[in-house]
Symmetry: C2
Subunit: 341 residues, 2 copies
């Protein structure tokens, strides 16, 4: 019998050794390999450990683990123009084809001219007319199909790649790291909720029901065969920017996030609201300070505020005062994109 016991003992020891090695390997696996060592990376790891370790004084029950992410400029490139605005401008010819009387009416006339200088001078009111004409009036299903078709072929002018390729690898790692630790990840975007929902699942692993964005009403009706469908209406329900972000979070989620990520003044209230909760709360801002690998715009460059996703000096000062962690693209990110640059 002795030999049998020896065999069993040897097998048991081998198993224990294997398990121990595996546990060590897991512990050593860096969840954020594209992040350089520094305060930003440390803040994320410390937050996750504090809120998910049983017995930690800052432990958060799994059901309450909510993290919200701005999209444009936080998860993907939004410079020099929002992707959705490019979509709307490129949809104008199709809209005018369906309604030829618009060809002679501003702002459509200017957009059709292709004169970029004139287009850059369009007012917010002009832009609203373009958004209304290209984002409303069609069925939800038709809109989804149009956006999907456009995203499959449209390309960023600098990188010559589909927009959905230009997400930030370090932020994709944060999304996965939080989810692996029981966090529900949400996009909370000033962009159109319906627009972002078309690609959020494939691009970020975030399902449509976890996308909060600027949202318009829909109208329920029936087609000729009696089949019901929803039409996108030019009626604004939620302007998911600035104070609209916490308001949108309450409307769509109903819980205060434990972590929030942004990159511009439009995210200030979301970060404030997140940090105002009890216990451990993480608020982070992506600073675009990498002119070579991406773009540099914001206070650190002494550049003027741009129209898109402004990171003002006031926001920078507020971040320092409130304990929000600023992420320097240049210093904190070893790589920018998942695709080769």
């Amino acid at each position: 019998m002795k030999r049998v016991y020896s065999l069993q003992l040897a097998l048991t020891l081998a198993l224990v050794a294997t398990l121990a090695a595996r546990a060590q390997a897991l512990a050593q696996t860096d969840p954020l390999p594209s992040w350089n060592d520094g305060p930003a990376k440390h803040a994320i790891v410390e937050f996750v450990q504090a809120t998910t370790t049983q017995g930690s004084p800052k432990f958060v029950p799994p059901a309450e683990r909510i993290a919200t992410f701005d999209q444009d400029g936080t998860l993907w490139v939004s410079h020099p123009m929002y992707t959705q605005v490019i979509y709307c401008l490129e949809r104008v010819p199709a809209v005018v084809k369906a309604k030829p009387e618009l060809a002679k009416v501003e702002p459509f006339k200017t957009v059709l001219s292709g004169n970029r200088e004139a287009m850059a001078k369009l007012s917010m009111k002009d832009l609203e007319k373009i958004l209304a004409a290209t984002l409303t009036g069609m069925s939800v299903d038709d809109f989804n199909a149009e956006v999907k078709k456009w995203l499959a072929t449209a390309k960023d002018s600098r990188w010559k790649r589909p927009y959905t390729d230009l997400t930030y690898l370090p932020m994709q790692e944060v999304l996965k790291y939080l989810r692996a630790n029981g966090y529900k990840t949400y996009i909370v975007t000033g962009g159109g909720q319906d627009f972002v929902r078309v690609y959020s699942e494939a691009t970020y692993g975030i399902p449509p029901e976890q996308v909060v964005g600027t949202a318009g009403g829909t109208k329920y009706g029936y087609d000729r065969s009696g089949k019901p469908f929803l039409t996108k209406e030019p009626k604004l329900l939620l302007n998911d920017n600035n104070a609209g972000k916490p308001e949108g979070i309450h409307l769509m989620i109903g819980r205060r996030p434990y972590a929030a990520f942004g990159n511009s003044t439009g995210d200030r209230q979301m970060l404030e609201y997140t940090k105002a909760g009890d216990g451990a709360r993480l608020a982070m801002l992506v600073l675009h300070d990498d002119a070579k690998r991406e773009y540099a715009y914001g206070p650190a460059q002494g550049l003027p505020d741009t129209k898109v996703g402004t990171f003002t000096q006031a926001l920078y000062d507020e971040a320092k005062k409130q304990g929000w962690v600023v992420i320097s693209m240049k210093n904190d990110w070893e790589r920018i994109f998942a695709v080769e640059e």
Copy 2:
């Protein structure tokens, strides 16, 4: 060595026997034990098997598995008055205490009188004034705390139990059965989204972010110490009844449900919209036809339409025509409540 092998063989056989018995027990475990055998129970089981069995022509990928449930009259008792309306009426004295000038103004004067006959005659416009006064004007946190406090002590007048005790056991089983098969379960209620969110998780296992309901706007602001908070505003964003249900589902979820459950005309469009999707779709209506164990109101009793959750003859005819399955409380449910009746 022979004895050792025999021992191993015996242990292996015992293990196999145990696993086989367990598999059989699992297969035989009825996921809907409070349901009597019949077409309603069969429809639910067949739907779940068709949409979750790999290789089934009607298989639905886990990410798309969405099921929506009306609340009042579908998941819990809503007769003779909605629980939320009772809450609002019982809040009136506190509101008047804070604003004494309301004591002499209608409809508050009538509510304070306690004259039930007069209260029953209040118009929809009167009711709206009461809802606005009791559901808006306070912070989201104060509102949540008030509702929680009220629910802990308020009792249904017939059963002398907290309202949250009066959920239907058969529907709780459906919620669990669907979730065990990868469905995300949502409440889609004509009731107030913020009201239902206070108890949905403890009562149904449905987290706040999976409650879609009639929703008002909130306003972001700061208290004297500079701490941000949200105030409930008397501004209707979503009237989550009738056509508002599919509109609300699009706004809050962004996907068409595969299964929908209701009990009144207010659920008709949600069921239509659900059934209009491709593949297997389940639409069910709870019919209150059990005067003894709960209530009987609707076409089967030849009773007139009531103000609350009407199941009209037209809805009954529509259900038959569209293949929606009617659940008879009297015949399909072996038990009504989880608590003893």
